[in-house]
């Protein structure tokens, strides 16, 4: 669809449809027809109806207001056909309807069929498949020739440099080596390097020096912690507590988080990563239910009882979350837009929506045991024994009650000696069983199959207004006309396979683009969760395709992709400002430099703990809400969906953690005064400053030597003489511990610590 067409449809949606709904539908719509209130046999809720017209003939002739009865009627030209009957529309409203007819009566979705060139189809599918970049097959074209071959370290560089040369721009030189290694550490692990790690790299003159660093970083467990967190943004991960009918806790959400981290660390092929998160429980071999936590960590809305309207709304909202997260995360498509009507801009029909929603409607949440089978069995056996014994006690009391003609709660007082002893023995046995029962086994929040029913289209998104039944199946734009219906259970496994198929044009492109964005601050296509018509086209489409094809060819390996990117000249470029280049390409769409950016909340807090020597590096396990006392990585801190439950929420939101109410495609960076209030006044910063200040004070050597050592540790570089002078002057001679602390707080608050250069 062209931008002009989209604009016309928007005009229709914003201006025309509201008029039709408000003034015409009560007598001229499907609803009016159903109620027997249809007037003049005219339906005005579809273009087809308008063109067919009513008793007086066609109401609309696209492009010709003079031949359109609708225009005549609203102008009150004909006394018998003055519409709307109660009150004439105002001039502006009449103008809107006239203009709309004039522009050819654009009508979105399935009704466009009547006016459009594509027969009975809602979209011109072929045009989308061949015309829109994201739906075309991935093509691996040869990396282009470039003039400055010396700059090229990898094929990636050829694609980037060719574009720069075409625009007469030169790429920035490589960043200084200490910055390159710092950048690599922050990028891959989210933690700064130690001075020793920097020094070892600086003296290593072998050509493989940097590759060795990259390999060791990718092998580190901290890699999964950093990159797993990126994925958790997409997965709208939280530990529950959403409010709004979604206020349950998700105490085991961390098991899914740990699954993600482990998957990254193990370099699980991405197609498997996808398959397991959608349908890991349904796999016949090596089922992996914990992975399906992807869906369960999202909002599940429950109404507060009372009215059917709210109940329907909340079920619809929950299904919408599943379809939205599924389609944006894995496919870069906004399928949830087709919940009430065919997608206005992309080839996604309302039937597509309910074909996918139907899959999730046949799925329910389950607490899946993760403890060893023996523990589960022992627990269940013990609980069964408790239940049995409990029943024995009750049966005994009831029998006695019957015999003594008393109520069960009166039996005790009048029971004879012998039965009393018997009852007491039974109860003692019950207590023993309870005491000796093993603790409950541990569980993860997972999905489970719950049926195989198709669902109807919900008219205008309202589940109480069922329309046509839709078979569960994949999206038509990818699977082709009349996609085969899913037949196994809910259809989740088939849905997952459709996404992870190598010939799916979206899946590999979407993840490769995301990974690029997480390395560079901006992805190649800058709307990574929307590859549709309103998304941004990639700045380097050939490069994106080349990377995606190469990715699939090499087993969907993310670690290989990271290595490929980090070893390129493109990634190693300096982020330095350059007035001339900036004037030409201020947005850096051609990649003449590395984007300068700020660390995410997690990496900044982790860095603070790392440079003060306090960071606890153990991995995995339950989340904690003790953000101020915990010295663990921020990944392990609790996040509520509502953002107002835990102490940690306020900190994370202040430093731009995206709201986990919906899948997030990229982080927005803000700079607000409250962040500086945190640096200036928070107990957390004060504690870090004390730790760093004490460490500095106890360092060996002169004051200037101490400052040099601190700069190495904080910023991975040598301090300049002016910086040493400034520090020495501020500290004065023989500074008190408290002065050291305050100085340390300044060093920790410096921008250099929160930026990736």
């Amino acid at each position: 669809m062209s931008a002009a067409e989209a604009e016309k449809l928007e005009f229709f949606e914003n201006k025309v449809r509201p008029l039709l709904v408000e003034f015409c539908y009560s007598c001229h719509s499907a609803e009016a027809e159903a109620k027997g209130k249809l007037k003049a046999g005219l339906r005005m809720d579809s273009l087809k109806g308008l063109r067919k017209g009513g008793d007086s003939g066609p109401a609309v002739t696209p492009g010709d207001p003079a031949k359109s009865l609708i225009v005549e009627a609203v102008n009150y030209r004909n006394e018998d056909m003055a519409m709307p009957p109660k009150k004439k529309l105002d001039d502006a409203q009449i103008q809107i309807l006239t203009e709309w007819v004039q522009m050819g009566a654009p009508w979105p979705g399935s009704d466009a069929a009547v006016a459009g060139p594509h027969g009975s189809e809602p979209y011109d599918w072929e045009k989308f498949r061949t015309g829109h970049w994201a739906f075309q097959p991935i093509v691996k074209s040869a990396p282009p020739e470039v003039k400055d071959a010396a700059w090229v370290k990898s094929d990636i560089d050829r694609f980037v440099l060719a574009k720069l040369e075409a625009a007469a721009l030169k790429p920035n030189v490589s960043a200084e080596r200490h910055l390159v290694i710092r950048r690599a550490y922050l990028d891959i692990t989210g933690l700064p390097p130690t001075p020793e790690q920097v020094a070892a790299f600086l003296v290593d003159e072998s050509p493989e020096a940097f590759a060795k660093v990259v390999d060791s970083l990718l092998a580190s467990a901290h890699y999964g912690e950093r990159w797993g967190r990126h994925w958790l943004d997409v997965a709208r991960y939280s530990d529950g507590h959403g409010g709004f009918g979604d206020d349950r806790a998700l105490p085991n959400a961390w098991r899914y988080r740990d699954w993600v981290v482990a998957a990254f660390n193990a370099d699980m092929p991405y197609d498997q990563f996808v398959l397991r998160q959608i349908a890991g429980d349904a796999l016949k071999e090596n089922p992996d239910p914990v992975a399906t936590g992807f869906f369960v960590v999202g909002p599940t809305y429950k109404d507060d009882g009372g009215d059917p309207e709210a109940k329907a709304v909340f079920e619809a909202e929950t299904l919408s979350d599943r379809v939205d997260t599924f389609s944006r995360a894995f496919l870069g498509l906004t399928a949830a837009c087709a919940r009430c009507h065919d997608h206005k801009f992309d080839p996604i029909t309302i039937k597509d929506y309910y074909a996918i929603a139907g899959v999730f409607r046949n799925t329910r949440q389950k607490e899946h045991p993760v403890s060893p089978q023996a523990e589960v069995e022992a627990f269940e056996a013990a609980q069964a024994a408790i239940r049995d014994q409990d029943k024995r006690v009750k049966d005994f009391v009831n029998a006695a009650a019957k015999r003594l003609e008393k109520k069960p709660n009166q039996v005790e007082a009048v029971l004879e000696e012998e039965p009393k002893r018997e009852l007491s023995a039974l109860r003692m046995r019950l207590d023993e069983l309870k005491k000796s029962a093993p603790p409950p086994f541990e569980t993860a929040h997972c999905l489970q199959e719950a049926g195989s029913a198709d669902m109807p289209v919900a008219l205008r998104g309202d589940l109480r207004k069922p329309g046509e039944m839709v078979k569960r199946r994949f999206l038509e734009i990818i699977a082709g006309k009349e996609p085969p219906p899913f037949t196994e259970g809910s259809g989740r496994l088939e849905l997952a396979r459709s996404v992870a198929a190598p010939n799916n044009p979206l899946t590999a492109r979407v993840i490769v683009n995301r990974v690029w964005g997480w390395h560079f601050g901006e992805p190649l296509a800058r709307t990574p969760s929307n590859f549709g018509m309103l998304g941004e086209k990639p700045t380097h489409p050939e490069l994106l395709d080349w990377l995606a094809a190469d990715f699939i060819e090499h087993g969907w390996s993310l670690k290989r992709l990271h290595r490929q990117i980090l070893l390129s000249s493109t990634w190693q470029m300096s982020s330095r400002f350059d007035e001339e280049k900036f004037t030409k390409d201020g947005d850096n769409r051609l990649l003449w430099r590395m984007n300068p950016r700020k660390l995410e909340a997690e990496s900044w807090r982790d860095s603070l703990l790392a440079v003060t020597g306090e960071l606890e590096r153990n991995t995995g396990g339950p989340s904690t809400d003790a953000i101020w006392n915990s010295k663990r990585r921020t990944l392990y801190i609790k996040i509520s969906r509502a953002g107002d439950v835990f102490e940690s929420d306020a900190f994370l939101r202040l430093f731009d953690l995206p709201s986990p109410a919906a899948t997030s495609e990229k982080r927005v960076t803000t700079t607000v005064p409250q962040q500086y209030l945190f640096m200036m006044n928070s107990a957390f910063m004060k504690a870090r400053a004390e730790a760093l200040g004490n460490w500095m004070r106890e360092l060996p050597g002169e004051l200037s030597q101490k400052l040099h050592t601190a700069y190495q540790r904080l910023y991975s570089r040598t301090a300049e003489p002016s910086e040493i002078d400034l520090g020495a002057q501020w500290l004065g001679t023989n500074p008190e511990p408290e002065r050291w602390h305050r100085y340390a707080q300044v060093l920790l608050s410096a921008h250099e610590l929160i930026q990736i250069q």
Binding site: F244, T334, L534, P596, S659, T670, P673, R742
Partner: protein, 479 residues
């Protein structure tokens, strides 16, 4: 005087940005420094650091410059407050067709007359319930919209619908949209402040959330029961350092950051950081001051009275005087997050108590704003997320009713002593000149000088707006 200074600063700032904004409007784009950055790349913003909260020019001349929302979560009953329905007494216990609706909750009982008396007030002769005697004295400054309706009769969704124009919590709030569109006239305070005594309305922070808009547009919340100004903003106070000591420390930080900036030549985040640090320093003094009502005259404090809600009203006036763009003050007593829902079991007890707790404060706010010449440009909006049915629930309560309810507005360009739209003769459903929440939100934006169809933000490839694809400005209530 302070106010005039803000005015001047506002006009200067808007003039400065005028040419760029004009260019934007011609291209039909969204507004705001952020929209600007995404349109032109960083080029446009790099030359001049624009704080996200700097005042911005509206789409057209505004009637109101600031908004105070008096939010009544839980659903106040229209027929027991401002929508007088004498027919209820005549048809007591009956079940006319209009209340016999499947989706209306718990209406199996018959019509229940209001337990409160009604009297006529003002030159406009408005009938007002006896539980709002003070607000009743202000009716000649108020437009009552009796024909409100919304999508859902449930608190969580209804409250979000009112504040976000959406049933999902992942959309920006009205206040965030307004500060995104207009910035604020204060350099020392957040542009959007939300307050409540004790409980936050259900949905909590999502009610003032920025969602995908930049964080600077989020509402900052203060609990006026605790009344710790430092709680408005976390970490506002330093536990150990004097202001002079802190200044010394910040001067050092500024120098270190400047040295880094010199090395980099240019860095947008760093430049913004240097500015933000200075504003943070100023806020430490300005925030406690604005929340300190002891600075007010005895007379003023007497006018408002001693209730917690009244204190909130007085602070709201001080905040808008300082240039805060949007203040939302929610009602709550006894820590109940949907206070007016006490109407379920007992209209007499629940509603009378709630009205008493806010009546004087609201009236005082209107009179005080008027006395200071602020009411003309300050829009005050009172209302809940829906109303209550004219039938009874149990013996003396009422269940939710989203088909018709009342919201009133004062100042900021709306008519005075005016009533718009109506419910049926029993007060159940809006029948004449119906106003949906989207229409109300579109109208509020319009009064503030913004076109609700043009105030957009592109997120994940789609242009979002407060009113989604809905909303019509209700021109008939504009003066």
């Amino acid at each position: 005087m302070k106010f005039l200074q803000h005015e001047l600063a506002y006009r200067l700032a808007t003039q400065r940005q005028l040419s760029r904004r004009e260019a934007l409007f011609k291209m039909g784009a969204g507004i705001g420094a952020i929209g600007l950055a995404s349109m032109f790349g960083s080029n446009a913003v790099a030359a001049e650091q624009v704080s996200p909260l700097a005042p911005k020019l509206p789409h057209f001349a505004p009637k109101a410059k600031r908004l105070i929302q008096l939010f009544m979560p839980g659903g106040p009953s229209q027929v027991d407050t401002f929508d007088y329905k004498p027919m209820l007494a005549k048809h007591k216990g009956e079940r006319p067709g209009i209340v016999d609706r499947k989706t209306l909750r718990n209406t199996k009982m018959g019509l229940m007359p209001s337990p409160f008396g009604f009297k006529q007030y003002g030159q406009c002769g408005k009938w007002v319930s006896d539980i709002f005697p003070e607000v009743a004295k202000c009716v000649d400054d108020i437009t009552f919209v009796h024909s409100m309706h919304t999508d859902i009769p449930e608190h969580a969704g209804g409250i979000l619908m009112t504040n976000l124009g959406a049933l999902q919590p992942n959309r920006p709030s009205l206040g965030s949209w307004l500060t995104y569109g207009l910035g604020a006239e204060t350099k020392n305070l957040p542009g959007f402040i939300a307050m409540s005594p004790r409980a936050l309305p259900r949905g909590k922070f999502a009610n003032w959330g920025n969602a995908f808009l930049p964080g600077a547009y989020a509402g900052a919340y203060v609990n006026i029961h605790e009344m710790k100004p430092e709680a408005v903003i976390k970490d506002l106070k330093n536990a150990g350092l004097s202001s002079a000591q802190q200044r010394e420390q910040l001067d050092l930080l500024a120098k270190i950051n400047q040295m880094q900036l010199a090395r980099l030549e240019q860095d947008q985040n760093l430049e913004a950081g240097i500015q933000a640090m200075e504003m943070a320093f100023r806020m430490q003094a300005s925030v406690p001051e604005v929340f300190d009502v002891s600075k007010e005259s005895e007379e003023t404090r007497k006018l408002y009275g001693d209730s917690e809600f009244a204190k909130g009203c007085l602070i709201a006036r001080r905040l808008v005087e300082e240039g805060v763009r949007v203040v939302q003050l929610s009602h709550s007593i006894d820590g109940y997050d949907i206070a007016w829902d006490t109407g379920h079991g007992d209209i007499v007890g629940g509603h009378a108590t709630l009205a008493k707790a806010c009546d004087q404060g609201i009236a005082a706010l209107l009179m005080d704003l008027k006395g200071r010449g602020l009411l003309d440009e300050t829009l005050v909006v009172w209302g809940g997320e829906f109303g209550r049915a004219p039938t009874s629930e149990g013996d003396k309560g009422r269940d939710h009713d989203h088909y018709g309810y009342t919201v009133w507005m004062a100042g900021g360009g709306v008519k005075r002593g005016f009533s718009y739209g109506s419910t049926d003769e029993f007060g159940c459903s809006a029948v004449e000149n119906r106003v949906h929440v989207h229409d109300m939100n579109a109208t509020i934006l319009h009064l503030m000088g913004l076109n609700h169809e043009k105030l957009t933000y592109r997120y994940s490839g789609r242009d979002y707006r407060l009113t989604d694809v809905h909303g019509h400005v209700v021109h008939d209530i504009i003066a």
